[in-house]
Amino acid sequence: MILLDTLSDPVARRTLMGRARLVGLFALVFAGVCAALSLTLRSVSPAPDMLVLTPKLEHFQTNADEYDTVFLGTSRTFYHIVPDLVEAGAAEAGCPGLSVYNFGVFGLTGAEQDYLLDAVLESDSVQRIILEDPLPQPRQFSETMTERARYFSAPAGYGAALGSVSSYPESFPKRIFRTGMFAFGAAYDLSGVGRGAALAFPEAEPPAPHTFDMSEDGFEALGDKMTDGIQARRDEFLSRPEGFEEALDLYGRSSPNIDARAAYMVGKLRKVEAAGKAASLYISPDLLELDRTAQVGKRVAETAPDLSVLNFNRPDAYPDLFERDVWYDFSHLSRSGAERLSRKAGAELCRAQTGAGEGGVNAVR
């Protein structure tokens, strides 16, 4: 009522409009200065030290000449691909001499994958790159405000992030929600909060830089380094044996937006090929994604038959990878599972490379 009264009174309306204009002016200047300051300070600030990601990237950049094959993906690359066993599997299949690097980083998003891919493509020695389907944007506010999420919320990554979100095989409302999360993350980054403080008031006790044991060329078995989150997931897996069977039932179910995701992955693989390197899509065993990633792999193989797809998320094709005792939690294999998978991956990679037998495209059985 009061609002209606105000709008019907010309003087009050003018006053209201005047105030709204001032608020708008403030908001405009505030947003503009925030963004300008944020981008300026970002350009002079060092990249944050990110757990696993930074030491792996640094190791790769220093030792890129040692590797000709790179697996680039999420925790299902990080915890699943044992480079030595991929090499052994490939050698047994007739492709000796591979030198594999595990560039898996847990929680890897589309924008992060593009960033790391660019770094890998700079290496002349790398001959083949195996990309895993990355994760979409975070689903919680807190996840959008981490140092890592913020670093990859730069304007340069907007296209990659939106591409990953819009193509992810999930319902339209969920994609809208994730787009909102992305927008929040981008706004948080552009606010510039903390950037001036970090430069003007350096940390009194800077933490030791993150390190990573590279003795297994980037691989780490899940559970070797225990955290509360990992333990909780393990406990849930152990306490709910029926959940394993329920997850297997997901296989074969349909998911929305599969075509878009397939096109998204094909685009990434073509980019690798355009750089003169062999490209493969790696679909990891993942119980909770049996209705999603397995279909993306199939669709990529159907729409781009010339591309190599290593689709392991298929209990019918790889039953030994879906025995409960080789799983650590509902999304990850244990070390023994990872070892089993890695040998197969090496063999499939060799077949894809040589076009022999059941390999390459034929891996999509």
Binding site: V29, L41, V193, G194, G196, A197, F201, P202, E205
Partner: protein, 470 residues
């Protein structure tokens, strides 16, 4: 919920919109009281019971005072009971463990054995502030300075009003209640002045205090590892930190209340520029020092019963003022150092300074330096976690010698010089008035630039206000 958190801005936006939309003063007070309980309950809703209890006691004392003539025994008894109840709550939650432990220690010194009964009580945020507000209401009503409120809502609103609820300023009943009784008018609100003050407070708290706090923490955590210059630098940084933290909070509280139409008295007035300790206490935490003066020092006799009694009263007031901050010997020593300085200053003025002609600005400068030096010595006891740690730092501060070799990984002295210059310039130019004088358009743009720039200097991760613990 902190003034620098997003959720506070969201709550305030709702409350602000509602208050200025509602025409009824009663409804405004209801909204503000409810919002205050939401604000307080955001820490721990269980402590709302304490506020309600203190409110009920205050209301009851007021009701008795209203029906009994001045001097009536029952009226006095009600006041005494009310104060005892309010202080009882404070004592139980804040001082019980301190006094029982101190008693056990004392008994041990006397060769007696006593077992300690320690309660595992969490200190409710802001308890010292709202109990003092409640006492102010009871005493002011008893004295007849303000009429008792017939509505319990009014008493609840006065005690819980969220801008000052958890860390002051301690607003007297006689100051606030007349404002409650008349509907606030939007035309009387100086929006630009309030917004400017809020931003100044925000910058002090979030951009200065929170940024230097980690350096102070480092020094006070292990003072004997650091060089004398670093330790002294750390002490001075703490002086800056606590000033910016507390005065920043006060600025934001005053500005927030101002935007809702209520005027709070100033709580700080460039205290580190004071030429003597007495002046320092006229400029530092003004609402507490004047509260202690009016409700403790003067009732004790003030300066009406000779110099010796005045000194005793001064020392008692300062010791209790120290104890008000927390239940530890460190706060008692802090109060004692200030009380001692006030007594020495009186003696100096009476017996020495009066024999010489005033030294003009040189005297003021020397006085300011000496006062600042002493205030910082006292801050050491205020900040340190233990008495032993306090003595280690105080020794370094007084002798400028330390066995430590480490230095802070930041240029402390340039930071201090920069902050000092910034503060001096802001004061000299009267930043608040300067901003408030701008035309609306220029104000909107300047405010946008300053707010954006200050956001960049907000460190990631919130730090609670120091005075919340009191």
């Amino acid at each position: 919920m902190l003034f620098v958190e997003l959720r506070f801005f969201a709550l305030f936006a709702i409350v602000f919109g509602l208050v200025w939309t509602l025409k009824s003063n009663e409804w405004r007070k209801r909204v503000l009281t409810l919002a205050s309980y939401v604000f307080y309950g955001a820490w721990d809703w269980r402590f709302l019971g304490l506020i309600l209890f203190v409110t009920a006691v205050s209301y009851a004392v007021g009701a008795v005072a209203e029906h009994r003539p001045p001097g009536d025994a029952r009226r006095k008894r009600a006041l005494t009971l009310g104060i005892v109840a309010a202080l009882g709550v404070l004592g139980l939650f804040k001082y019980f463990n301190f006094f029982t432990d101190s008693f056990v220690d004392f008994a041990g010194l006397m060769g007696l054995s006593a077992s300690s009964v320690t309660l595992n009580l969490v200190l409710p945020v802001g308890i010292s502030f709202y109990t003092f507000q409640a006492i102010s209401y009871m005493v002011d009503v008893h004295r007849g300075d303000v009429a008792a409120k017939r509505s319990v809502l009014d008493v609840a609103f006065y005690i819980a009003f969220f801008p000052q609820l958890v860390a002051g300023p301690i607003v007297r009943a006689a100051t606030f209640i007349p404002q409650m009784d008349t509907p606030r008018r939007w035309a009387d609100v100086s929006v630009r002045a309030c917004l400017a003050l809020f931003l100044i407070g925000f910058i002090k708290k979030a951009c200065v205090s929170d940024n230097i706090a980690p350096y102070v923490d480092l020094i006070f955590a292990d003072p004997s590892s650091y060089t004398a210059a670093s330790v002294v630098g750390g002490v001075l940084l703490y002086a800056v930190q606590i000033y910016c933290d507390f005065s920043g909070y006060s600025d934001m509280a005053i500005a927030t209340a101002g935007l809702l139409g209520y005027k709070f008295p100033a709580n700080f007035d460039s205290p580190y520029l004071s030429p003597n300790i007495q002046d320092f206490w006229r400029r530092w935490h003004i609402s507490l020092s004047s509260w202690l003066r009016d409700y403790l020092y003067i009732p004790l006799g003030g300066n009406r019963r000779g110099n010796a009694r005045r000194d005793v009263n001064l020392m008692t007031t300062m010791l209790l003022g120290g104890l008000w901050h927390g239940a530890s010997m460190n706060f008692v020593i802090w109060g004692g150092l200030h009380g001692g300085a006030l007594i020495v200053e009186r003696l100096w003025n009476t017996h020495v300074a009066s024999r010489f002609s005033p030294m003009g600005w040189i005297g003021a400068l020397i006085g300011t330096v000496v006062t600042f030096y002493w205030v910082n010595l006292a801050w050491i006891f205020f900040r340190a976690r233990t008495l032993e740690e306090s003595f280690v730092i105080a020794k370094t501060y007084l002798t400028w010698s330390s066995p430590g070799v480490e230095t802070l990984p930041v240029p402390v002295w340039p930071i201090l010089a920069g902050l000092g210059l910034f503060h001096y310039a802001a004061n000299k130019l009267d930043a608040q008035a300067l901003l408030a004088r701008l035309s609306p358009d220029r104000f909107a743009m300047t405010y946008g630039v300053l707010a954006a720039a200050s956001l960049s200097f907000v460190p990631l991760g919130y730090r609670p206000f120091i005075y919340f613990q009191f």
